[in-house]
Assembly symmetry: D2
Homo-oligomer: 122 residues x 4
């Protein structure tokens, strides 16, 4: 069976890249939110999120930056916090044939919301 | 600030519907996989997934069906299992202005994979 | 095979109740954190968390209260937020034979931390 | 405030170690189940789970082994699968004062269930 012919012939290459990048961004957010994190573990977690999400279909590259400033300000008994959306700055680059999309997750303080949007597409 | 003008002027209405539907499908999968489930709890869980995911931007309607046949065959000491992708059949309908997309998640046995694809788009 | 004899003969009934209650509390937190939520969906989510977690071994009763005051103050474009630990007040009652434990999750503002502790045990 | 005096004076040191270890095991399972994984990413994921969960209160050491044999047998279009409980073999060692517990998660094929139990306690 040719999966692409059977299931994806109703969208363009550009739309396929958009579709797969958006799935991966939604997946990333809801898989990793809640993980215990502090300054000691942040690099290991960034790397592991990247490695896991690059396995998904059509995903070429994932960059994850977790906000160190928030981690520096942790003030509780236990010296870690749970990962939240406002700490994340993520880029997901997806490709399908000549289609390409870069999906971004970024906390927009004016919106008080971790926004997912399309940074670049062709 | 007009979010749509500022962040989404590079994609069409059809693409915006596709984008938001795909995010929600990826989110749904990775948020709910692993939940304890059996025949007694299945309806409550379906309803709650639907209600939660319909809150996301541009999502008009979510339908969730969890495979009862798999739940009927549970044979272990504790009478429940963890929700997996192969139990899920989900439709997410997203709208943005005159754009509309229906995203589907369905386990395809030939692929041995819970496939996300675009069932309808305009 | 008698699971209890084979795997749990090194702890008392009281300790078994404690063990299973603690597992369920850790599970609950990390399964549900991140779910989209607002005042319209809160009751459905509380019910569904309760129903799912009561399936786990030795769990007699789960009570979940999500802080409505935090939900009332949502001020963003999209009228929902992601569930966090500070919104949760949960009691898990576990029993094994004559052992019983009540595990509590509650946000302690002095600690700036959602604390899990043993409210009652015998 | 002395958290231990205020919230944990109703359990012994041994019970405290048991409590914290069990929470961490439940948390680990429900946080990481569903992550995309294959043979290329498995080591990074094991390390990252370990690093994250060792941040939790009273956790001294976490060992995570993901079953490579299951990963070798992946046969689908996309060359990865979602992490499930049956792939995991985990040890969590927790300490509180002179109390110590080792909690184990292991898939028991006779039970058809990923069992959490107490491997050692004192």
């Amino acid at each position: 069976m040719d999966v692409n012919k059977k299931y994806f012939n109703n969208i363009s290459n550009r739309e396929r890249a958009l579709f797969e990048g958006a799935i991966t961004m939604g997946a990333l957010f809801h898989q990793f939110i809640g993980i215990p994190i502090n300054l000691k573990s942040v690099e290991s977690l960034e790397q592991s999120i990247k490695t896991a999400m690059e396995l998904q279909p059509c995903i070429n590259k994932v960059n994850v930056e977790i906000n160190r400033n928030i981690l520096k300000e942790i003030e509780n008994e236990y010296d870690y916090i749970s990962l939240t959306g406002e700490m994340l700055d993520v880029k997901v680059e997806s490709n399908y044939s000549n289609g390409r999309a870069i999906i971004r997750l970024k906390y927009i303080s004016e919106l008080n919301y971790p926004l997912m949007y399309v940074e670049d597409i062709r």
